[in-house]
Symmetry: C2
Subunit: 185 residues, 2 copies
Amino acid sequence: MAKIVHEREDVLPALGEVFREHGFEGASLAIIQARTGLGKGSLYHFFPGGKEEMANAVLAHIDRWFENEVYRPLREDEDARAAIARMIASTDAYFRSGKRVCVVGVFALGETRERFAFAVGDYFVRWREALRAALVRAGHPPDAAADLSEDAVLSIQGALVLSRAVKDTAVFTRALARLKTRLGV
Amino acid sequence: MAKIVHEREDVLPALGEVFREHGFEGASLAIIQARTGLGKGSLYHFFPGGKEEMANAVLAHIDRWFENEVYRPLREDEDARAAIARMIASTDAYFRSGKRVCVVGVFALGETRERFAFAVGDYFVRWREALRAALVRAGHPPDAAADLSEDAVLSIQGALVLSRAVKDTAVFTRALARLKTRLGV
DNA sequence: CGACGCTTGTACCGATCAGTACATTAAAGA
DNA sequence: TCTTTAATGTACTGATCGGTACAAGCGTCG
């Protein structure tokens, strides 16, 4: 029966897309099976905790990506301005210029938030803090850096909501362009 | 049996809160019955089309409120700057300083968007356009007004996402304060 | 080649889903 | 008071929900 031996890691991207498009409650096992190509047997073998464990794995996977590609460069790169510019580019790539929505944002808005409270809050807090630190290193006054970083993180989320609502990815692109000038990169 | 005679209008606020907190898919008939105090009999009497009709009624109800309290003043008030300031105040009141989330935003992010595509898109397009017109009348150059209005609408949505994600309504309050200075009111 | 353990498909579970049918009751008009 | 219509509670439907049990298949290592 077991034709191809899968690894747990392999299904995380597909799993992420399901939660991205349907949210936690909307992501039924039937949809998950269809999108991952795995049956219930495999799914519960890799994720004994069921949907909750799948979602936690997806959130951890996303967190790892942002930590490596965005937060750490923001915190540690010698050239702070370059790191900020890279953040914009990475964000644009990750969200496919607004075609993709943010899983963490989707979870934040729903009832789901409570269940994944730590992961959801942490993702945004660390983004804001890493960007704030980079802005300070880039020469912004501390107060302005705190304000700018919060504004940037929230603008990205809002741009995803709005561009999806009006079905126009140009909204997202324009928002990132505004961010660039505001952050001075 | 029929103890109290309800009107369809009366249940829209409660219905709105259910969709706000649970989204469309997450809003089960069981929850709706509990929150509205109405049984299935009454619910399907007032909304023969089921959940879909309930959601459409809620969206129309919200749209009416924003049209009266926000969009029209923005479009028609002689004092454009005062109308913009009133928009900020109304927004703060409506979303309870960030404690409440935006139903339309919630619908926009999920699969639900497709089903209510027109209402979802229209809500944001008309907000952006009404604000743009007010900004022009307040003396902003046309290009800047278009940019500022889109930025404002998207910032409000993002502020709702972020303040709920980090469970801190101060995020929303700060975002509105920034908006005030950016819009020049 | 044989045995063991990691995958996998399938059948099944009780709970809940949205929605329907219908009889009963209350309110309103004559 | 009688009649009609609007509002309501209850019982039910078939489908789907997340999750479990388990046997059968596969790869791997001896």
